[in-house]
Amino acid sequence: MTISVRGLALSALLGATALTPTIALAADCGVAAGRVSIVGNEFPAIQSVAAKAGECAGLTVSTNLTADHQKINLPGMQGNPAEYTSAIIGTSSIVALMKEDVIRPLDDLVAAYGQDIPPQQLITIDGQVKAVAFMANSQHLVYRKDVLEQVGLEPPKTYEELLAAAEAIRAAGIMQNPVGGAYAAGWNLAQEFVNMYIGMGGAFFEPGTPNVSVNNAQGVAALEMMKALTAYMNPDYLTHDSNATSAEWEAGNVALMNMWGSRTGVLMDTEGSAPEVHTNTMVGAPLTVGGGTTPATTLWWDGWTVARNISDEDAAATFVALKTATSPALLNDTTMGQAVWMIEGYQPAPVNQGVMETMAMGAQPYPMLPYMGLLHTALGDNIADFLTGKEDAATTLADVEAAYTAAAREKGFIQ
């Protein structure tokens, strides 16, 4: 008992010393008082941004970083005054916030406090600044250098080459199921279709309308390629989300996969996997498919917003706190490799190479449309029927279109 009490006292002491530098560092961010309350996803890059925002002198800063941020950010910003003064969001989740009109145009705040924000960081919709981006993310190839060397192949550049490499690895008896992928029915599976369909050159909607159009040659080709890939995956692939796929990778069961740039740091560090796995884990450019030149992936940005239902004082405090937190002052040896930062002075680390190449190859951003979320849900609910062989590709795509149309009619997008 004595020991544990001493342990507690010791950790409290250590905690106190760890806090001291934070207090010493308290910086003047340009506004002296106000409430800042941030809600956002939970991964290292966002944790660093939130911690940096907390260093502003005089401001009351609280944060709620959780994987469930999308479920709570909208209700938390609808009250008046809003509980959260800022939501850290991405390409698709900002659409839901704009649809409910809970975020504030930032033009006046940019004019007053944000003249030094580089213009390319400003997310401008219909002439109004709605968010400030600070990092980019995308899915791209991750491969095992040693396994590809054993079968004498270069890293694949297309999905067709990836299939050939998978067959070679299986034939050589190295791995039974060398391909990984986040194919869990639902959001993940729909995302893989979105990637593949864009790679095939498909368009999701008739131009300028909410009318869906995925039941076409590109849609069928995308589904056929996904099914071909699943032949080289763990038979439980429909239950594997990004976490389970990463675990398969770290266990050394997989040699080729399309994975999020924000998750490659975990795969390449020394924790959780044998040395032969993490030392041979390499990232590459995203793959193309079907002879196309557009990579079969989507670009995502992460950025911050300011809530509409808060006082001007709190809005100014939130703006300067997050502006400071996403300025070059954020970058140091620890934070540099955590993301592909959209911040001046950022030096890409090898782990970020995949996302850099995705941008260089001119990949498309994930569609920022108010009805894209409904299509994503319809895709996630229906594609599994094709992959499990219950129905053919055309029937599945017809089901997707019908499910989307019913939902879009309910939501008032289609009359």
Partner: protein, 342 residues
């Protein structure tokens, strides 16, 4: 009891029922016949770090005016109930016309989300309800036959599946039947088929969900039956033994009739519970193979774009489903109650 006294007696519980049961159901009903306003969308220029593109956005000014004019949304009557993602009335007609026979029609029907989910929900309810009650009865009989010393620990062990949080219990089983889990790998070894996977096959996934359902709800039946067994009249049992009745005869003709009211009670509760099956589908990531009405509500509310009206309509349909399923049991209880009074 005088009417006045009776009124005061039930007033607190009646108030609570109105506040916490009737009003929410009413609000769900209202929600289900209204849908969000028609969205006014227009083309705007959208500039991000990746360049500028033309895209459509909801026109906030125009939509706000619509919302203020009609805060509930637009009235659509049963429009949500009959659309393709629910009862799909017009789609059923079209599928009937296009189908080549009864079998083909059933296949096409089950491909519609509501009917596919209903098929699983009803199968699950029809199997899990009797099986869990039967298992609970067998466990109760066995524990009751044990010497007193062992009963306490046995009751505790038998209740464990009910004590474990449903999501966690299902997750543990999910990991065990994964192709790399202990049960999944054992099954592959026994069957001699390295590609066999419980989670990849629809029939095996349904079996797994039903096994989980029985495992997690048998303890409830057990604990109710065990309590009931303590009230079985010993005189009747002893006279039956003197008359030469075997153990089976005593259970069949004395114990079972004595416990019949408990069985009815449990059937009611379990049918309601099982019809709302939800946790195992989430824990087993089983949405690709099995969906239920409750799962639809979850996915309508969990997406980036929330479908409140759709979720409300599914909730009302779930309530109606429970009422239909319970009606035979309710009618039966009503009748025997009436007979008792007469």
């Amino acid at each position: 009891m005088k009417h006045r006294t009776f009124l005061w007696f039930i007033l607190p519980s009646a108030t609570a029922m109105v506040l916490f049961i009737a009003l929410p159901i009413l609000s769900v009903l209202i929600q289900s016949v209204f849908a969000p306003h028609e969205q006014v969308v227009r083309e705007v220029e959208n500039c991000t770090v990746f360049g500028c593109t033309m895209t459509t956005m909801v026109d906030q000014e125009a939509t706000r005016a619509l919302r203020e004019a009609e805060p509930l949304g637009r009235f659509v009557g049963f429009g949500i109930y009959t659309d393709r993602n629910h009862l799909a009335t017009s789609e059923i007609g079209a599928q009937w016309a296009a189908s080549t026979g009864i079998g083909d029609f059933v296949n096409r029907l089950l491909n519609l989300p509501f009917y596919g989910a209903l098929a699983f929900t009803l199968t699950y309810t029809a199997l899990v309800t009797p099986l869990s009650i039967a298992f609970g009865f067998v466990i109760a009989l066995s524990v009751n036959a044990l010497p007193r010393l062992f009963r306490g620990p046995m009751i505790f062990v038998s209740l464990l599946p009910m004590i474990v949080t449903p999501l966690v219990g299902a997750l543990i089983l999910f990991w065990m039947v994964d192709a790399r889990g202990i049960l999944g790998a054992a099954l592959q070894a026994v069957a001699g088929d390295p590609t066999l996977s419980v989670l990849a096959s629809t029939p095996l996934m349904w079996t797994m969900l039903i096994v989980y359902g029985v495992w997690s709800s048998a303890p409830f039946a057990f604990v109710v039956y065990y309590a009931g067994l303590q009230t079985v009249p010993q005189d009747t049992l002893e006279s039956a033994m003197i008359d030469g009745a075997t153990r089976w005869h005593r259970i069949r003709y004395v114990v079972l009739p004595h416990l019949l009211p408990l069985t009815t009670f449990m059937a009611l509760i379990k049918i309601m519970d099982n019809f709302r099956v939800f946790e195992p589908i989430v824990s087993f990531n089983a949405a690709a193979h099995a969906q239920s009405l409750s799962y639809f509500i979850y996915s309508d509310l969990g997406g980036e774009t929330r479908l409140l009206s759709s979720a409300a309509a599914t909730s009302v349909l779930t309530i109606l489903g429970v009422v239909v399923l319970l009606s035979p049991v309710l009618v039966r209880t009503w009748r025997s109650f009436g007979r008792g009074v007469a």
